[in-house]
Amino acid sequence: MRFESPDTIEQAVELLNTCDGISRVLAGGTDVLVQLRLALVEPELIVDIKKITGMREITAEDGGFRIGAAVSGAEMGEHADLVALWPGVVEAMELVGSTQVQGRATLVGNLCNASPAADSVPAMIAANAVARIVGPNGTRDCPVVDIPVGPSKTSLTKGEVITSIYLPAREDNSGDAYLRFIPRTEMDIAVSSAGVNLTLDVGGVVTQARVTLGAVAPTVLVVEGAAKAIIGTKLDDEAIATLQAACSAACNPIDDKRGTIEFRTKTAGVLAKRAALIAYSRAGGSK
């Protein structure tokens, strides 16, 4: 194995593009090092991107925030303006692993690991987050929703590196929230999860909504029916019940050591309901 820590993104792309064997990008390393340890992957090349300018920065951009690929969860949680704008995305990222893992783990790493149970991904997709990708053919932007294509698989092509995530500006009276179910209070992988992002009018009526579910399908589900169920409502009991039912109906989970199909299906709806109520409250709505 070879370890490289280039100073520029161009060098990183060149290294990855010219490596014939398996390569891995290293940012926080909280997934990559576990894979190395368990010998799940034996890469020829590891490219540490943390020395590259901008990778460790959160910058304000057009009313939103651009989060560098090596920014840790802990750093996101310490950024007051980011937390104020996108509390659901930050809380989702902060649920990943322990305090120790938070010191290293990154949004981009969580995304590129492409686990259906990744905590930050449903929240990012609910937030319409966009990934910036640099590759052998230059720079492109891609909605986060289009990055994972299945468990452990992404749409990135050889030599491509995600350099940042952009969380957009938002209208007044907006709020987002993310909840997951785990058997303990910490240290577990989500058994099911839900992200909700919504905007209200001044009267507290939902005008825009995006509802996502994690760990209940090979990739994150965007549940249009659930969003429709609450748009035009003040999240009355009926709307919430319809959202919950729509979420459960959308689930296509597996039975595994972490949970049953039945359990995942039911709790995804429950979490979506609860997340919607939190997002509504954050958006300034009162019930």
Partner: protein
């Protein structure tokens, strides 16, 4: 909090006294080393020229080993030695042979992770690369990991042709043990009952979950002499096993116990040590072996899983008329007696006219079980305490009152045979009943659970030696690895008996050449047995010191007493001399007859059983099945708490391990017979945020078998939580839970199923 109870008879050993050191809370002698990182654990030692060894493990749950070809691996640069089962000596006893076969598979692999070969090389990296070059041809066989399925005639047989003793007709060849206990006529008892509840329960296998993986460093030279450094609960056991397995005499192997990073019963056997020794013998170099966490889960002892049918009859005023339990345990691929211990303990809390328990041990394609804190008792008592709770519910009776009405006490013929001496169950129940926790209001979706627990406690072979140093300090050597602060409690008992301050004493764990034999640190035996031997060793030293004083004073040795750390004449008739302190006698020892020491060797008895009662409040989320522990209080009889902090620590730690067992911990096997959760991510032990403070209430009902009244406290604490939490969850969720762990999917399915 310590509630003092001094009642009952002075037994053969116990004498009431006012303690000066015992019962205080001095800092532990190994504390500074452990907070500064200086303490040396199993993996912390290196040796010049050291090799690293790793193990090739079976990917199959059950297979015949057709052949093993190590030639390519041995030819690899940096590889120094390889061993397989052929490099070990056949054992006379079947128990030892099973342990050896578990260290290195012979003929067959019995579980996913079973060791097949080991490579010693210049680095872990090279050793692991060499493992990939070992060619093993397997003839894969059908497997079974479930206890009930393994008892069916259709189940694959693990040990073809092997006969086990005392197995009744009608059991298949996987049943390796059968036991029966009880007294009275249970059918007649059931006929007197107003209500009978009959339930079946299952509990999953759990792992001890010590944070320190198994680790050892072994050296053996061409002279045939060996040394082992190892984290173990019993280095004499390691010496005897490892020497026997490589075919050397016991005297030629010296084993030193490192600091031990948790054991809970799981480090009472050998895994790596004989292998490292054999590799060192072959390579002529020191060999270090450290398990990965995955190996710890796949190949070191979890406890048994169980399937149990319980039937209990009760009159409408709460008197139990009869109890019956059929317990089926599996503890992996080799015979064990854990089911027997389950059958003995199931009804131990009750004074019953009619009780019957039967137990079966069944062989399955899982790792060889190892002891885990009160082995066999938690899952047995869980089933009985769940049914007692359900009877209380049905009859609308208070669960503590019912337990008091039926509680075992002094003179009770226990369900497993002996008649109890002084025991603390009633006092423990009364303390729970009177505690504010029991009267505290409960909120919505909350439930309160109660359970009793019991453990025998062991005593056994023990040796202690102490020397009185010229400066008036005392060096104590004991031979039991200190897992929870026992060096502190042993130093305290030595100080108490000698009448000198705690800080004048240093207690160490000697290596196997230092003092006489010691059984492993298990059965909650150390504070009891090593304490007993320490007190008697101190008395031997005191006798010697009294003799020295008598000699100086020119009086008869019988005319000297030992009071407050000094020799004094027994009275004016003996002569009018000022007390001669330990320090004074010590400084003159060369002139008065040479070194002063005391030692004691004993196969101790009279450990004294221990009872506990746990109270827990839980809250269950009816939409997700998530259980939160809201409040937890432990009541336990310690006999006498030598160092109350560490007694509380045992009670708290045991309770939390039991909570883990009740809620989330389990070995999960796939259809392929492979363990699916061999890591702390998915083997879910409780984390700090899962828990409230664990209140610990110590009761002290002296054990007649110990000079200070000590009872072991290490194990009882893990017994009650399973039923206490299950009873709390059953009340909170409104449905009786009968399978552990009560993971959220199980609870939610039960809630939805009951609708």
């Amino acid at each position: 909090m310590v509630t003092e109870y001094v009642e009952g008879s002075a037994g053969t050993e116990f004498n009431k006294r006012d303690f000066k050191v015992v019962g205080t809370r001095p800092p532990r002698p190994d504390g500074i080393d452990k907070v500064t990182g200086r303490a040396l654990f199993g993996a912390d030692l290196t040796a010049p020229g050291m090799l690293h060894a790793t193990i090739l493990r079976s990917p199959h749950a059950h297979a015949r080993i057709v052949s093993i070809d190590t030639s390519a691996a041995l030819a690899m640069a940096g590889v120094k030695a390889i061993v397989t089962s052929e490099d070990f000596v056949k054992q006379k006893g079947s128990g030892n042979q099973d342990t050896l076969d578990n260290c290195m598979a012979r003929g067959k692999v019995f579980y996913d992770g079973h060791a097949v070969a080991a490579v010693a090389a210049i680095s872990v990296k090279v050793a692991n690369a060499a493992l990939k070059l070992i060619k093993v041809e397997y003839d894969v066989l059908p497997h079974e990991t479930d206890v009930d399925a393994a008892m069916l005639d259709s189940a694959p047989v693990l040990h073809e042709g092997r006969k086990f003793r005392n197995i009744p007709e009608g059991n298949n060849a996987n049943v390796s043990g059968f036991w029966e206990f009880g007294h009275g006529d249970v059918e007649e008892g059931f006929s007197k009952a107003d209500v009978i509840v009959e339930r079946s329960f299952k509990t999953a296998a759990t792992h001890q979950g010590y944070i320190e993986p198994h680790a050892t460093l072994a050296t053996m030279g061409p002279d045939g002499r060996g040394e082992i450094w190892v984290c173990t609960q019993g280095h004499y056991m390691v010496r005897d096993m490892a020497a026997a397995f490589v075919g050397m005499e016991t005297s030629q192997l010296r084993v030193t116990a490192s600091e031990i990073g948790g054991g809970f019963g799981g480090k009472t056997t050998v895994y790596l040590e004989p292998v490292a020794l054999a590799l060192s013998k072959k390579s002529g170099r020191p060999v270090k072996m450290v398990m990965t966490r995955e190996e710890v889960f796949r190949a070191s002892g979890p406890t048994t899983s169980s399937s149990t049918d319980v039937k209990i009859g009760m009159t409408k005023d709460g008197r139990i008329t009869a109890g019956q339990a059929k317990l089926r345990y599996q503890g992996g691929a080799y015979p064990n007696i854990t089911a027997m211990l389950g059958a003995m303990t199931a009804f131990a809390s009750y004074d019953l006219d009619a009780v019957q328990t039967q137990a079966w041990n069944v062989l399955t394609n899982r790792p060889k079980q190892a002891a885990y804190r009160a082995p066999g008792a938690p899952m047995a008592i869980y089933t009985v305490e769940s049914v007692v709770d359900e009877l209380c519910q049905k009859l609308d009776l208070d669960p503590i009152e019912v337990r008091l009405l039926n509680a075992a006490k002094k003179g009770t013929l226990s369900s497993y045979g002996p008649t109890f001496d002084e025991i603390g169950l009633v006092a423990t129940l009364e303390a729970a009943k009177a505690h504010p926790h029991y009267a505290a209001p409960l909120g919505p979706n909350q439930g309160r659970g109660v359970s009793c627990g019991f453990w025998f406690n062991f005593a056994g072979n023990t040796s202690v030696s102490m020397s009185i140093n010229e400066d008036g300090t005392v060096s104590v050597i004991e031979g039991n690895p200190d897992i929870g602060g026992s060096r502190a409690s042993i130093s305290m008992m030595a100080a108490e008996e000698l009448g000198i301050p705690f800080d004048k004493i240093r207690t160490i764990i000697g290596d196997t050449n230092s003092i006489g034999f010691n059984d492993v640190t298990d059965g909650s035996r150390v504070t009891f047995s090593v304490g007993l031997a320490t007190i008697k060793a101190a008395r031997a030293a005191i006798k010697n010191m009294c003799g020295r004083a008598a000699q100086v004073w020119g009086i008869d040795a019988d005319a000297v007493d030992w009071i407050d750390g000094a020799a004094v004449p027994t009275g004016h008739n003996a002569g009018d001399f000022s007390p001669m302190t330990l320090a004074e006698i010590a400084s003159d020892q060369a002139k008065t007859g040479g070194p002063i020491a005391g030692h004691h060797e004993v196969n101790a008895d009279g450990a004294g059983v221990s009872f506990g009662v746990h109270l827990v409040d839980v809250e269950v989320d009816p939409e997700t099945g998530f259980t939160e522990i809201k409040r937890y209080t432990v009541f336990q009889d310690a006999g006498k708490a030598i160092h109350p902090d560490y007694v509380e620590g045992q009670m708290q730690g045991g309770a939390v391990q039991g909570i883990g067992w009740a809620l989330n911990e389990e070995y999960i096997y796939g259809e392929d017979g492979k363990l699916q959760n061999a890591g702390f991510l998915d083997y879910r032990i409780p984390v700090a945020s899962d828990l409230p403070m664990i209140d610990a209430v110590i009761l002290e009902i002296p054990n007649p078998g110990h000079p200070y009244g000590v009872r072991g406290v290490g194990e009882t604490g893990i017994v009650p939580p399973l039923a206490a939490v299950a009873n709390g969850v059953s009340h909170a969720a409104g449905v009786r839970m009968t399978e552990l762990p009560m993971s959220p999917p199980r609870i939610l399915a039960a809630i939805d199923g009951a609708k």
